[in-house]
């Protein structure tokens, strides 16, 4: 115990000497706290956006859709939509449903043609899902003549605008071609300059899409939104049971969120690289500080060894110094970063302009995972232990006699 106490006192009694090392560790941990905390919030917001605006908690299709849906879409329709919707909506934990019927169509305007891909959906449900996208005009809604929302670039290609009437043609079930005159009521522009949505998007009411494809009471996809953003295993079980009974199949959001998962992996990799660099720097800073500390106390260490202090006890002195530096430095870094995060969050967060990833500008907060912060702290403690032991190894490589002769 006395050896541990000596190590800790060496740090406590020489605060000025150890301040640069403490500050280095504090800054490194604070940087990781802020970087990971910001990423954590960006990705949790991104995940929420992906689930609420795009994927829902589950996507339900007719059985066989995954295998044959693209080749034989009319063989993989959900028929008897009204009855199934009632059944699904009654499942505990379901918030609302968004049935969709996808189609591809050729659109003809006053001065051009365009191939469009999109879907017909329930206006109320689509309105609940469509937060945050840039919109001109309005979404298809209510009753009356067929109406559509198109991507801005699709509208340009057709030399059309809000209020124009387009003729759209599509293949019907059974092989015929159907045509529909449809009024443009809105335009949508995604964040990307040349993304598919801008060039090809068409959104109609479900009934218009059904009319175009010659279907009744049918769709190809039901998006299930749950009350909990991230549905658990109980919910999975209920959805699976319903699908099994109703000849349906389903995919959960995380099976579909490929872009989200890949983005998260890239950011996680960046974060790991940053962590590794900071840990390496900390290893050398700590090692250097402790070696300099040892050089000034070489005779003291020699004296301790002369009095019978064993090698493990000398290691314990170095270890306690390293641990004290990383524990105190880490705590200071976390405290400083917490205060910074509190200030940033109370001011509204970091500003992120719109980009290919996000339609609209947004503010990200610093919301770290405390488990991750604890893990970073633990890693710095482990690195300082390794660094201390490396220095103690060098110290113990010097004979007691030579240590005592040191000035």
């Amino acid at each position: 115990m006395i050896t541990l106490e000596i190590g800790i006192r060496n740090i406590a009694r020489n605060p000025r000497k150890h301040l640069p090392t403490l500050v280095s560790i504090a800054v490194a941990i604070a940087a990781l706290f802020i970087y990971s905390g910001s990423n954590e919030h960006i990705f949790s917001s991104f995940r929420e956006m992906v689930i609420r605006e795009q994927l829902g908690g589950y996507r339900i299709h007719a059985r066989g859709f995954a295998e044959n849906g693209k080749r034989e879409p009319f063989d993989c329709m959900i028929r008897g939509l009204d009855g199934l919707s009632k059944g699904l909506a009654s499942i505990q934990g379901v918030d609302f449903l968004a049935p969709r019927l996808h189609f591809t169509a050729i659109a003809t305007g006053d001065a051009g043609n365009a191939i469009l891909r999109g879907f017909g959906g329930d206006p109320d449900s689509e309105a609940r899902m469509a937060r945050g996208s840039t919109l001109r005009g309005r979404r298809p809604e209510g009753k009356g003549n067929p109406q559509a929302l198109l991507g801005e670039e699709a509208l340009s290609a057709l030399s059309a605008d809000i209020g124009s009437t387009l003729t759209i043609l599509s293949a019907m079930e059974g092989g015929g071609i159907s045509g529909l005159d449809i009024e443009v009521v809105g335009a949508k522009k995604g964040g990307g300059e040349s993304d598919l949505e801008n060039r090809m998007l068409i959104m109609t009411r479900l009934e218009d899409a059904q009319l175009l494809l010659g279907l009744e009471d049918a769709c190809d996809t039901i998006i299930v939104h749950t009350k909990e953003l991230l549905p658990g295993k109980d919910m999975d079980g209920r959805i699976a049971a319903f699908c099994a009974e109703s000849a349906l199949e389903y995919e959960k959001w995380d099976e579909l969120a490929v872009f989200y998962e890949r983005s998260r992996e890239v950011f996680a990799m960046n974060q790991n690289v940053l962590t590794a660099i900071l840990l390496l720097v900390a290893f050398f800073i700590l090692g250097n500080a402790m070696y300099m500390n040892f050089m000034t106390r070489m005779r003291e260490i020699g004296t301790m060894r002369a009095m019978g202090t064993s090698k493990p006890q000398v290691r314990a002195i170095f270890l306690s110094e390293g641990l004290a530096l990383s524990i105190v430095g880490g705590a200071a870094g976390i405290a400083a970063a917490s205060a910074f995060a509190l200030a940033v969050n109370s001011l509204g967060g970091f500003y992120h302009p719109s980009s290919v990833f996000n339609d609209e500008a947004f503010y990200s907060l610093i919301m770290p995972s405390w488990g991750l912060v604890a893990a970073y702290w633990g890693l710095f403690i482990a690195v300082s232990a390794a660094s201390s032991l490396a220095v103690s190894r060098r110290a113990l490589g010097i004979s007691v006699s030579d240590s005592l002769r040191a000035e």
Partner: protein, 220 residues
């Protein structure tokens, strides 16, 4: 016999040059003896003390401490031997700067594990007349007081042998004489074996036995 040295050779290699610091040294020191070791700088005094104190391994020859050969001993065994049988007093006092007087004196007992026997430390501090300075840190003491703390530290573990390397060299003559008086007194009272190196012939004369070293060879 407290210490027995047989044909001790110690050779250092400084680059391409070999320096023979000790040349076939044979020496026997009885229990309770007070030996002064004198010689000019570079004669090998410190090397000989370090070999006797088991903190430096001889190139050849054998060291026996209280009848036990140190040949082939591992580092942990040598550490235990030093802690239990040998106390050190250094020219520059070599106190642990972050410990107070009591903690410094307790240190050799504390590293044995478990709670140190505080009564031994208190008794050692009392025997060097520093009872009023228990909580003082080394930088709050004079040179003479620091050396007395170092003596108390060497005594506290009740080692039987105390090796003092020029213990008065950093002290003024009056304080040096007082320290020498203290060592002689402790030798008489406790029967502790003292081996004291010094440049000072007057201090050397206070010892019962004189050993002189010159160019790594003993001249008794």
């Amino acid at each position: 016999m407290a210490i027995r040295l047989r044909d001790i050779e110690k050779t250092y290699r400084l680059g391409k040059v070999e320096v023979r610091a000790l040349k076939g040294v044979c020496l026997e020191i009885a229990e309770g003896d007070f030996v002064s070791l004198t010689g000019p700088s570079g004669a090998g005094k410190t090397t000989l003390l370090h070999v006797m104190g088991c903190i430096e391994e001889p190139s050849s020859g054998e060291v026996e401490i209280r009848g036990k050969s140190t040949r082939g001993m591992r580092d942990a065994e040598l550490s235990r031997l030093r802690n239990g049988s040998i106390g050190f007093i250094f020219q520059s006092f070599n106190l642990i700067s972050v410990l107070n007087v009591l903690e410094n004196v307790e240190y050799p007992l504390a590293i044995r594990g478990g709670a140190p026997d505080r009564s031994k430390a208190l008794s050692a501090i009392e025997s060097v007349g520093l009872s009023g300075f228990m909580r003082h840190r080394p930088d709050e003491l004079s040179g003479g007081q620091r050396q007395r703390v170092a003596i108390a530290r060497a005594l506290a573990a009740d080692p039987g042998i105390i090796i003092a390397d020029e213990p008065t060299a950093n002290l003024d003559s009056k304080t040096g004489a007082m320290i020498m008086d203290l060592l002689v007194d402790l030798n008489r009272r406790n029967g502790t074996t003292f081996i004291v190196s010094t440049h000072d012939e007057e201090l050397s004369s206070r010892a019962r036995r004189h050993v002189r070293i010159l160019d790594g060879e003993l001249r008794e």
